[in-house]
């Protein structure tokens, strides 16, 4: 009898240790990816069926609630601005001098024809806050050791009910992600091809975002520069900034 109790306790402890590990891994990832605030200049190359377009933008973010993006190029997109405040999103078009609120099913539409939706762009929450994780194995990607985690959503208001992520064992950055719908259908895939260190934290600087329901080569994203914990004025996150 004692034998069984010891065995059961050992199993319980080992399960606890595994889930702890998974949670810790998510915390590590969140520490790398999240900050009180950040300013990112990035470029996005969208591979369409007939051509490819590259656009650059600068994004100011405070926590996971406030974000402001301004497109810098090309000419057609220059001056287009997006403001996210909690779960609301506004887009400003300089050509029409109009501010349009995007809501409902429109949030699932593609941003600028890319493989990323407005919903993807808006969700900055920490992984640990919205997912329960479980380590399901270890693998190698391009010679780099990764831990494979299975994530299940613990909140309802989330675009992807489950994720499978391949986390670099030392840098704690997802090198690959698969995003799934509630039905289990694979919706998006993210592949990171370059990781750099900024202010003592690892951050992905080149990645390919692929909408698995769309034909095409996906959308390439590159980080041109990133600054953490900047002094971002509060007016950047008001609707007034859109028309400036």
């Amino acid at each position: 009898m004692k034998k069984y109790i010891v065995l059961i306790m050992a199993i319980v402890v080992s399960i606890g240790a595994y889930s702890q590990t998974a949670t810790e891994i998510l915390e590590h990832i969140d520490r790398n990816m999240s900050s009180d605030n950040q300013v990112i200049e990035s470029s996005m190359t969208i591979h369409g069926k007939r051509n490819s377009r590259t656009m650059t933008s600068i994004t100011y973010t405070i926590g996971s609630e406030k974000s402001y993006t301004e497109y810098l190029s090309p000419v057609r997109e220059k001056g287009t601005k997006m403001l996210k405040l909690t779960d609301k999103l506004w887009i400003y078009s300089p050509s029409t001098d109009r501010t349009i609120q995007i809501s409902g099913h429109m949030l699932r539409q593609s941003v600028m024809g890319s493989d990323m939706s407005y919903e993807d762009a808006m969700d900055d929450r920490k992984l640990n806050e919205v997912y329960d994780a479980k380590v399901i194995g270890e693998e190698e990607i391009d010679g780099q050791k990764v831990i494979v985690l299975e994530l299940k959503a613990k909140v309802d208001d989330i675009a992807y009910a489950a994720r499978k992520i391949w986390v670099h064992k030392e840098k704690y950055i997802s090198l690959k992600e698969e995003l799934y719908a509630k039905s289990g259908q694979l919706l998006k895939q993210l592949t990171v091809s370059e990781v750099k260190m900024f202010d003592g934290r690892w951050y992905p600087t080149k990645m390919l975002y692929k909408d698995m329901l769309k034909k095409g080569k996906g959308t390439e994203m590159s980080i041109i520069s990133i600054k953490f914990n900047q002094d971002i004025p509060e007016y950047m996150f008001t609707k007034a900034v859109l028309k400036q």
Partner: protein, 424 residues
């Protein structure tokens, strides 16, 4: 003999009244249903041709594959060059460019911020060219509920339903938000000059109509078009002509290895029209077939009853020396006369009812609010030459067949037992 039989038919109402009523009713129903269904199908084809399919339609192969998703990124480029080619090579067809687009119609408040928004189903057609037939073809002018047609660039018509729901007034501005041909954000503001209602819920839901040049500019589709539609100038749709036009064009210009090469489709092979038209044609044949079978059974029965009732009469005629073959012949001729009278009455009633419905129709729009098909709101019949025989011949055949079957019993009568039978 015919005069004698006619007198019999007119004087002995019990011999003719029921068969005439039955045949008239059957012929009437056949003609009426046939005319009405043909009318609905004709209207549906006509409406689809005008709004979506043309008599023939040209798209890129890739666009055609995903047509329902309105993939303007796969639109036909070099549109003006194609228009010139088509006008030169096929001058007896009127060629027009059309662009479809989706997105949001956003109604601003006084500060230029979103007051209301709803899904947009945009159609861009040639509104301003000197010789354009598009507003008339799409019945846009007649569908105006309020306001006037756009007269210059930057003006649009929106669905009356949308305008009512979101309080959009004439002269207000609305912004279309969507994607350009290359996936960029598309914002374009239009002045609302009028509201429209086609009476077709599929078209009225979030409809916005703009000039094609405005759409090309907004959607980054300069010299590109979603589709080029062709309409036969001197005639209505002709399937054989469309077939030959399609074969000629596709043979010259469509390349199976190039997904952006143009491909021509004829009206009857687009969407669900092909299936519906085939069903529509079969429907008349099926109805006539059922009518002949059902009527023959009814009239056979009526003939049998008549034979029983006239049992003594036939017996006397046989006793007087009339041949069985002669009596059978009179039964058949009598049936033909009754069938003729019933068919004439039924045809007059059927064609008359069809004509009435052709002119007036029945408005089903209230029942079609959630129908996602391009269906006419008013169901009309159509009077075509075939209505004059589609019920008439079956009526005549059914009556003759029924009486021929019933009258055959005359050959089972035996002269030897006649007097015994007549004593009764």
């Amino acid at each position: 003999m015919i005069k004698f039989l006619l007198k019999g038919i007119l004087r002995d109402k019990s011999r003719s009244l029921l068969p005439i009523i039955v045949i008239s009713l059957g012929v009437f129903l056949t003609i009426f249903m046939s005319g009405w269904m043909k009318g609905i199908f004709t209207d549906m084809v006509d409406m689809n041709a005008k709004f979506t399919t043309g008599h023939v339609k040209i798209m890129t192969r890739a666009y055609a594959e995903n047509e329902k998703q309105i993939p303007n990124d796969l639109a036909l480029l070099d549109a003006e060059n194609w228009m010139q080619k088509l006008n030169t090579e096929y001058p007896d067809v009127e060629w027009v460019q059309r662009i479809h687009f989706g997105g949001l119609i956003d109604v601003p408040d006084a500060n230029g911020e979103t007051r209301a928004q709803g899904p947009a189903m945009g159609k861009a057609v040639d509104l301003f060219s000197e010789n354009t037939n598009e507003p008339e073809r799409m019945n846009i002018t007649k569908s105006l509920v309020k306001g006037v047609m756009p007269s210059k660039s930057g003006e649009a018509l929106i669905s009356d339903e949308f305008a009512e729901r979101f309080g959009v007034k004439l002269g207000d501005k609305v912004t279309i938000f969507g994607s350009t041909m290359y996936g960029s954000m598309m914002f374009q503001t239009f002045d609302v000059t009028g509201t429209i209602s086609f009476g077709i819920s599929m078209l009225d839901r979030g409809a916005i109509i703009v000039d094609i040049k405005d759409a090309q500019k907004a959607l980054d589709m300069e010299d590109a078009t979603s589709e080029i539609l062709g309409y036969f100038k001197e005639s209505s749709y002709d399937d054989i002509r469309a077939d030959s036009l399609k074969a000629d064009f596709n043979g010259k210009y469509s390349n199976i290895d190039d997904e952006y090469s143009p491909q021509m489709f004829k009206l009857t092979e687009q969407g669900i029209l092909k299936e519906m038209l085939a069903r529509g044609e079969n429907m008349t044949s099926i109805m006539v077939f059922i009518f002949i079978i059902a009527m023959s059974i009814v009239l056979w029965n009526t003939g049998l009853l008549g034979g029983l009732r006239r049992y003594s009469e036939y017996g006397v005629r046989l006793a007087l020396g009339e041949e069985k073959g002669h009596i059978y012949k009179t039964i058949i001729i009598e049936a033909i006369i009754i069938g003729f009278i019933g068919s004439v009455v039924g045809t007059i009633l059927g064609v008359g009812a069809c004509y009435y419905l052709q002119e007036n129709g029945i408005d089903f729009s209230a029942m079609m609010k959630n129908v996602d098909m391009m269906m006419p709101p008013v169901y009309r019949a159509i009077v075509t030459p075939d209505l004059f025989y589609v019920g008439f011949i079956p009526g005549l055949v059914a009556m003759t067949l029924g009486n021929a079957l019933a009258g055959y019993a005359i050959y089972k009568r035996k002269t030897a037992t006649l007097f015994k039978e007549l004593e009764v």
